[in-house]
Structures are given as C-alpha cells and as structure tokens.
C-alpha cells in the first residue's frame, strides 16, 4: 500500500530507518560469511581425507621386503667364457648360485621340496639381479659378497600382515612350510624392509615385486616433450595472431568461439580423432609417445591459447603505444614488448596445460598406449606407456602387492603434478613485472 501523503524524509527519520535496517543487513553478512567458511572447510576436509588416504596406502608401496644372502661370486660358474659378455653371463649358473646362497643361509643341503619352496619365495628376477650386479661390479668376481634379493610378492604380502597365519593352510596362498622358512630368515635378521629399487628403476612386469614405473615415466616424459614442443609454439603463435594481428571480424569471432568449444571437448574424443587420423589415415605406429604427444598437444592447445590470450590482453596498451610511437614496427612491438611481458602468463597456462596432459589417460588408451611393454622406450617412436595408464593397468591386476604399487605410482604422479603446478606459481611470481 502506498501512502499518498508521503512528503519525503527528514534527516532524523532517515537516520532512524537506517538504524532499523542495520541489524538485518549484519545478519545477512554474517550468514554469507559462514556459508563461505563452511564451503572452504568442507573442501579442505576432502583434501585432507584424500591425501591421508593416498599417502597411508601408497607410502608402504614405496618400500618392499628384501632378503640378504652371502653369495659366492664364482667367476667360472657365473662367467664361463670369461669375457663378461651377455651370452657368457646368461649362459652361466646364476639361478643355481642364488639358490645355493639361499640354502646356505638356512644351513641346509636342501631336498627337492625345500629347493622348490625357496625358488617360489625368492623373486623370479633374482638371477637377473645377480647378473646385473656382476656386470656393474666385475672386479668382485671370485669374492663373496652380501647381496640383497627381493622376496616374492606373496611373501611380501605375508610380511606386511596381509596373509594371516591363523587362516587354514588350504585357504592361504602360502603353506606352513614356507612360513616356517620366512620365520627362520626373520630370526636370523636377513629380511629387511627398504625403499624399493624395483619401483623406481624397474619396468612393467607381471611379477608385482619387480614391477616399476621407469618405462612409464620415460614414456610420460617423451610424450610430454612432444606435447609441449607442438602445443606451446603453436598455442602462443595462435594467441599472438588472434590478439595482435587478426582483424576483428566475423571469421575471427567464429574461430574464437570454436577454440573455446574445443577446450570443453572430452579428452577421449581427441583420442578417437588421433586414432582415426594419425594411426589409420597417416599410418603412424600405435602405442608410441610421438602419437600420444600429438594427441595431447591437440588437447592442451585450447588451454594454452586461452591463457596466452588472456596474458597478452593484460599487457597495458600504453606499452604498445610507447613502442609504436618511437617507430617500432608491429612485429618489433610484439616480439620486444608484448610477448616478454605476457610470457609469465603464457608459461603458467602452458605448465598447467602440461600438468593436465601428464594426468590424461583416456585419449592414450585410444591410441594403444595401454599395451604391456617391458622395454623402456628410448625414442619417440618406441612403443611405450605413460604413468596414468600404468596406474590404470596396475589397478586391474589381481595380486595383492599391486594395490600398494598402484598407490605408490599415484603418489609419484601427484608429486609430479604438484611440482609442475608449484613451478608455474614460482615462475609467475618470479617473472611477473609490476608497473
């Protein structure tokens, strides 16, 4: 209802009304603050839960159980030809020497059953480990050295307490006899729990205790190198062209809209496109970091273009005027002033784009980088896989120990991502100029 007699307000009436409305305004403000704080609190809580979960599960995965034996490095048996060549070493008696060392540690001659059990308890890579040791320490041939070998993943899981002694023998993955030997080693103090060298230096393996991320890590680095090599120059060039040179007309508007749309395209679509174009149409090989890098480059291009354009737009126009005003050409203005000033923003965007590419799985599955490849890739065209795909594959394996390996690999991947994001922040802080 409107008061027809309203004649305006006097200062005292106005002051009274303002005062009366104050309380409600304050309440609203407080409520809004509370909502904000609780939202941040909830986000932090999730973050803490996530990180404690990953760290508590994954941290043990960085370690594994090893057993130490005194191994007699008999030159004639290990290196029958005496030239330390691959044929000579692999023709040697390495498996038996490890087994004998294991028997000696138990002070037993060993019957068939014991030998078979010991073979199962040691990692199947123990012989190769001995050969590797000899290759890198040939001067120690003929001496007796204390060497460490990995325990098989079942024993490892038992040592971690995942396999319960109280479970009936028939339901256990390891029998009573095996447990008794593990106990004897444990009493003799031969078993140690150490940082896993297989995890960092090993490659893909079906044996959980030997599986490592080296191949995937190298694959990731090669893929990222291709990705940044294509996406950064192309993205920056596109951004510079669109911001500084292209006329503002309908065509550039359509291009802009489509770049923004591309940023929202699901990554798996880029994978399908990579499969259809690079592998099927161009006949490039499958599973190689080159193709993976190109696909990821296409995926990160919109991110880099958008952030680079924002960075270029943030360069004050007065700087362009200053350069043009003393006779710098358009190109000189761009290369001497605009790009250097926009570089921190461009780099930040690119690093964040790269971090996104590092964590990407789906498009790489499409182009076959999910293959089980033991060899570490040495070039862009060697088949390989990448960290997130390796995690994806390990998560699929049945062995108990792969759970820890998966978590450990996730920690390593996260460490890389956090490092990259931190680098982006540091770079921005360091290069940013104020005026």
């Amino acid at each position: 209802m409107t008061d027809q007699n309203f004649k305006g307000l006097t200062p005292s009436e106005s002051a009274r009304l303002v005062k009366a409305s104050l309380k409600q305004r304050r309440t609203k403000e407080t409520r809004f603050k509370l909502i904000g704080i609780s939202a941040i609190g909830l986000a932090l809580l999730f973050l803490v839960v996530l990180f404690t979960g990953i760290l508590s599960k994954g941290f043990p995965g960085l370690f594994q159980y090893y057993i130490s034996f005194d191994v007699e490095l008999d030159a004639t048996r290990l290196d029958p030809k005496g030239d330390l060549s691959v044929e000579s070493l692999y023709g040697g008696d390495y498996e038996d020497i490890v087994l004998e060392a294991a028997l000696k540690s138990l002070d037993e001659k060993g019957d068939r059953k014991l030998k078979r059990t010991l073979r199962k308890m040691l990692s199947s890579g123990s012989g190769i480990r001995l050969i590797d040791y000899v290759t890198s320490h040939p001067e120690q041939l003929g001496t007796t050295q204390t060497l460490k070998f990995a325990l098989d993943d079942d024993i490892d899981s038992f040592m971690r307490g995942f396999i319960d002694r109280e479970t009936p023998e028939s339901d256990r993955r390891i029998d009573d006899f095996t447990i008794s030997i593990a106990d004897r080693w444990q009493e003799a103090g031969l078993i140690s729990y150490e940082l896993s060298d297989y995890l960092f230096f090993g490659s893909a393996s079906r044996d959980a205790e030997m599986a490592g991320i080296r191949g995937a890590l190298i694959g990731s680095l090669l893929t990222l190198a291709v990705c940044i090599g294509i996406a950064f120059p192309l993205g920056v060039a596109t951004a510079v062209y669109l911001e500084e040179i292209a006329p503002k007309n309908r065509l550039t508007e359509i291009i802009e809209i489509n770049i923004n749309n591309l940023a929202a395209v699901p990554s798996v679509v880029f994978g399908i496109m990579g499969l259809a174009i690079f592998i099927v149409a161009f006949g490039m090989p499958r599973s190689v970091p080159l193709v993976g890098g190109v696909v990821l480059a296409l995926m990160t291009l919109p991110t880099i273009i958008i952030s680079s354009r924002a960075a270029i737009r943030a360069v004050p126009p007065s700087i362009r005027d200053a350069a043009l005003g003393i006779g710098a050409s358009k190109m000189q203005t761009i290369f001497h002033h605009v790009i250097p000033l926009a570089m921190p923003g461009m780099l930040t965007g690119s690093i964040i784009g790269m971090a996104q590419a590092l964590g990407e799985t789906a498009p790489l599955l499409m182009i076959g980088m999910v293959a089980f490849i033991v060899d570490v890739p040495t070039s862009m065209t060697d088949p390989g896989t990448v960290l997130p795909v390796q995690i994806f594959m390990w998560a699929d394996f049945a062995e108990r120990m792969f759970i820890q390996k998966t978590s450990a690999a996730i920690i390593i991947l996260l460490a890389f991502l956090i490092t990259m994001n931190a680098a982006a922040i540091i770079l921005r802080k360091k290069l940013e100029r104020r005026w």
Partner: protein, 271 residues
C-alpha cells in the same frame, strides 16, 4: 590538394592557419570512427621549431587530430581519415609511406608516463637500437647520455642507469619518455597532455623542458590546462566539436580571441 579548396575550408577557421615555412601541413582533414565524425575539415600548418598548443573541451578531437600527425590512429580499426597531411611536403598518408620512418621523424609522448619495464638505459636506447642509429656501444652510450641530458634527467639518473624505468617518480618517468622520444632525433614531437598525470612541480619541470626543446624541435602539445598553453606555446589552436575554431598567436588567443566560442572557453564559461 589545391590551394583554393584549402582556403575555402580554412575560411571556417578564424585566424591565420598558415605559416611561412611549414614543417607539417594538414589540409581538409576529416576523421571518422565508424559513423562518428570526429574531425571536421581541419586545415592547419605547423611551423618550424614552434610550440603549438591544441586546446579545447574534452571530446573536441584535439587528441584525435594529434594522433593523425604520426598515424597512431592506424592502430584503431574503425578509424578512417580523409584529406591530406604532409611532413616536409610529403603526404604521410600516401599509399607507399611506411609508418616506421614516419614515427621516427614524428615522435610522441603520451598522457600517462609509459616507460618500458626495462632499465633506464634500455628505455632510451630502444629507439636507436631498433632503427640502427648507433654503430657501437660507445655511440649508443653517447646518444643515451645526450638524450637524458636534453630531457633534464641525466644528473638524476646517471648513477643508476640499470635501475628499472618504472622505479622513477611520475615526473621523472615522463621525462624519461621524452628522452626516449628524442633519442631517435625526431623533427616533430607530439605531446598528448604530457602533464595531466603529474603534480605541479613535475609539471613545471616538463614545461621548462619544452621551452628548451623548442630550440631544436617542433612541438605540438595537447593540453587541458589553458595556463599551460599560455606559458609554453607560440601559437594556440582552439578545437570545438571536431572543428578547428580559431588559430592564432598565443597572446592573441588568450587576450583577445576573435571567435565567441574561444572567448567562452578561455573565460571558463564551459569546458
């Protein structure tokens, strides 16, 4: 452009727009931003080693016209220019003219001090470097020192040439920008309200500097301060709604303007 047509266009302007030995001449200049007619038939000469001030209320087109003189308006897509402007008898809007040497000959100082985020030395050396004016580091040092001396900044910054240009005070930054402009030895210096962002003391310094620079350079200055125009300029041109209303000796304009609009503006009735 025929002289007769120029005379007819100029006839709308009160006072004598022509000088004996012009450095720059503008004839029937029209500027459009899309459909907006920003400059309407302006004809004016800019004489050798004179300071000419453009005054007028905001939006009267004085800055727009100033930016036509070294083609800074080229960077604005919607801007269209008709008529002719020439420097030493050469049409600067002729199709074969390159704006790079033009802007080296007609330098510009902007409203807000805009040093590059580089060292003081590099700020001044930038122009000579891109135009290849110095053959050696020694020559470049000389050019930088001379330019800073001419801009009255040398004694203040000679011990910290490597400090960033942005670390100077506002007035010093503006003098650095002037030094940067004169480092490429232009013939004409365009100043677009060079003191509007400065305090009175820094303004006084810039004005002194303008008086010194006029011995060597032709200076066109746009200003909002009528006192400033009266202090620094030899001739004054009054713009109103895109038209050049009156041109004349500064004393005449400020003491005895002929046109009613000029009279109203300088007596503070509007603007």
């Amino acid at each position: 452009m025929s002289e007769i047509k120029a005379m007819s266009a100029a006839s709308k302007t009160v006072g004598n727009v022509f000088v004996d030995k012009p450095r720059m001449t503008a004839r029937d200049v029209n500027v459009f931003y899309d459909d907006k007619h920003a400059i309407d038939n302006v004809t004016i000469d800019i004489g050798e080693r004179e300071v000419i001030a453009f005054i007028g209320p905001s939006g009267c087109g004085k800055s727009t016209f100033l930016r036509c003189l070294n083609r800074m308006n080229d960077t604005i897509d919607s801007c269209r220019i008709e008529g002719s402007i020439s420097l030493d008898g050469e049409d600067i809007y002729a199709p074969n003219v390159d704006v790079v040497p033009l802007r080296a000959r007609v330098g510009m100082v902007f409203q807000k001090p805009n040093p590059f985020p580089k060292s003081i030395y590099d700020n001044v050396a930038y122009g000579p470097r891109i135009h290849g004016l110095a053959k050696s580091r020694y020559e470049l040092d000389i050019i930088v020192q001379q330019s800073l001396e001419k801009a009255g900044l040398w004694t203040e910054v000679k011990d910290r040439l490597e400090a960033p240009g942005t670390s100077l005070s506002g007035g010093q930054q503006q003098r650095l920008c002037i030094a940067r402009t004169i480092a490429v030895s232009p013939e004409v210096i365009l100043m677009d309200e060079p003191c509007s962002a400065l305090d009175p003391i820094a303004t006084a310094k810039i004005e002194e500097l303008i008086a010194e620079l006029t011995e060597q350079y032709t200076i066109v200055i746009v200003t909002h301060s009528m006192q400033q125009a009266a202090r620094v300029s030899d001739r004054t041109a009054y713009f109103h709604m895109g038209k050049l209303i009156e041109v004349g000796k500064t004393e005449k304009i400020f003491t005895n303007p002929s046109h009613q609009l000029t009279q109203d503006y300088i007596t503070g009735r509007f603007g």
